[in-house]
Amino acid sequence: MSTQASPLDKPLKLEDLLQRNIWDVDEDPHIEIPMDDQEGLRKRALVHLCPAGCYTMIGDKVLFSYEGCFECGLCRVITPEDKIRWEYPKSGKGIQYRFT
């Protein structure tokens, strides 16, 4: 028996959790938010609740990256309609679930 503490005994960082998954990333983003006028975006909620951590704060702007997206729809539901373009990825791209 090893006495060494395993990294699994501590909370895994989001990056490490995402490492477990398979994506086939689309060339084009399937979700977009405006970078200029972000009035009405629920930034704190997007940052804390997007399960894939696609939303991050840079200064007072929220930045979006679509690559690790789970296509769950949460950000669409909490964002005013005119502040988000939300589609599923095309051609089978995006998350590829196996054991869920």
């Binding site: 699994l8 998954n21 940052v47 804390h48 609740l49 399960p51 729809g73 909490i78 589609e87 679930y97």
Partner: protein, 434 residues
């Protein structure tokens, strides 16, 4: 959709449980059926908790028990209430087999394979962009530049229902009607589940968890034993989570809340040394009838499964997959009947809604319709489990003198800032609604 021949009797959007059930029965009855699925093969976009009620699935696939990718039949149900490291658990050992655990990607794949065996055509990697309307009736679907025509479209697109929104048949999703599920699949090693959970060989466990594991967000946790893995996760009310996050009351990422559940001092022993195989998320319906569209049919269209808002989450069980399959079956039967009566006119497709409303699915949803609203009440999620644990703590962890039960109750209520009147009213409102 290159190479998809011109016209079909029925086009099904989405190869989930609802779509595949409908497609299977229609193809078996001799209809020309096309299933369009956006994912790479059926199931690749599917994530759920872990337990499926079998009887409604057997109605569609009588060979289910022998053929389906069943991981374990659930013979133990547990419910735990948690406050900090303190846990109170009720365990029920079932007398018969009604539900099984599985991976939804596997089960959905099996269901769609059955539909294809019966003669349906499945085309995957096709994202339907629009349900096409002509002269006041639905005539097919469009994906990019391609259109496929059909006499009937079965909308089985799931909870996000973008197509129905675009068609104007439903309103935008209300954050209070939906929940976010986050899940981890833990690899515990072959043949260790029985020992870890003291289960008879091949049998499984379903475990719901209420209390502060959700960091104050209304919702709960789940644990399901698969063949050689364990699924754990949290279901969180999106409306409330959003409010709390915006008010600065959530200061960690949801994945961290889930990780803390994985590392909870009591629960972690069950998956000691297990690695995380997969981490994911999917949206689900909070419950109640609030997400059901005003009409479940239109000329040339029927709506089934999650897209139709047909899911029940009582807190102790989730009925999503079986409701989806049942609604798919009822839709298929109604479509067959509609053709016998002269075609899928609006009048004839109304049969679907009528039959659904006579079915167990609807009766269950009506019987539990208060649940959706109850889910928003933090009292049930944090305070009630808190009171219970505080009482037990006072009774079992006293140094010298134990309080009486009533003193323990009153003190615990005060600590959770609930008055006795409020408790009685809350319990009373639950009981009266039951």
């Amino acid at each position: 959709m290159d190479g998809v021949p011109g016209k079909f009797d029925v086009v099904v959007v989405g190869a989930g449980p609802a779509g595949s059930a409908a497609a299977y029965l229609l193809a078996k009855a001799g209809f020309k059926v096309l299933i369009l699925e956006r994912g790479r093969g059926a199931g690749s976009k599917e994530l759920f908790g872990g337990k499926v009620y079998a009887p409604p699935l057997r109605d569609v696939w009588p060979g289910l028990d022998k053929e389906a990718p069943i991981h374990r039949w659930v013979t133990r149900e547990r419910i735990s209430f948690v406050r900090g490291s303190r846990v109170a658990t009720i365990e029920y050992s079932l007398g018969r087999r009604v539900g099984f655990t599985t991976y939804l990607p596997e089960l959905a794949k099996w269901m769609s394979d059955k539909a294809v065996e019966a003669g349906a055509v499945l085309v995957d990697e096709v994202r339907v962009d629009e349900i096409v309307v002509r002269d006041g009736r639905i005539v097919g679907v469009r994906s990019g530049p391609d259109t496929v025509e059909a006499d009937v479209v079965v909308d089985a697109e799931g909870v996000n229902r973008l197509l129905l929104e675009r068609l104007g048949l439903v309103e935008r999703l209300n954050p209070s009607y939906v929940a976010l599920g986050v899940k981890e699949v833990l690899n515990v090693g072959k043949g260790t589940i029985e020992e870890r959970f003291a289960l008879p060989k091949g049998e499984g466990l379903a475990w719901m968890v209420a209390g502060d594991v959700t960091a104050g967000i209304p919702g709960g946790g789940f644990i399901y034993t698969m063949k050689d893995t364990i699924a754990i996760g949290l279901v969180l009310h999106i409306g409330k989570a959003m409010e709390k996050a915006e008010a600065g009351q959530i200061n960690k990422h949801v994945s961290r809340i889930l990780e803390e559940f994985r590392l909870h001092p009591y629960f972690k022993q069950f998956w000691k040394d297990a690695d995380v195989m997969e981490y994911g998320a999917h949206m689900t319906i909070e419950g109640g009838l609030r997400m059901v569209p005003k009409r479940l049919y239109a000329p040339g269209l029927v709506i089934v499964g999650d897209a139709a808002g047909l899911l029940l989450n009582t807190g102790y069980t989730v009925r999503g997959v079986d409701f989806a399959v049942a609604s798919g079956r009822i839709a298929a039967e109604a479509i067959i009947e509609a053709f016998n009566r002269g075609g899928p006119t609006e009048e004839n497709l109304r049969l679907y809604e009528e039959r659904l409303k006579e079915s167990f699915v609807w009766r269950e949803l009506v019987r539990h319709r208060w649940i959706g609203r109850g889910m928003e009440d933090e009292c049930y999620f944090t305070s009630m489990p808190g009171v219970l644990i505080r009482i037990l703590e006072k009774l079992y962890e006293a140094d010298y003198e134990e309080p009486t039960l009533i003193d323990a109750l009153l003190e615990s209520l005060a600590e959770e800032d609930i008055s006795l009147t409020k408790l009685i009213m809350k319990l009373g409102s639950v009981v009266s609604k039951l």
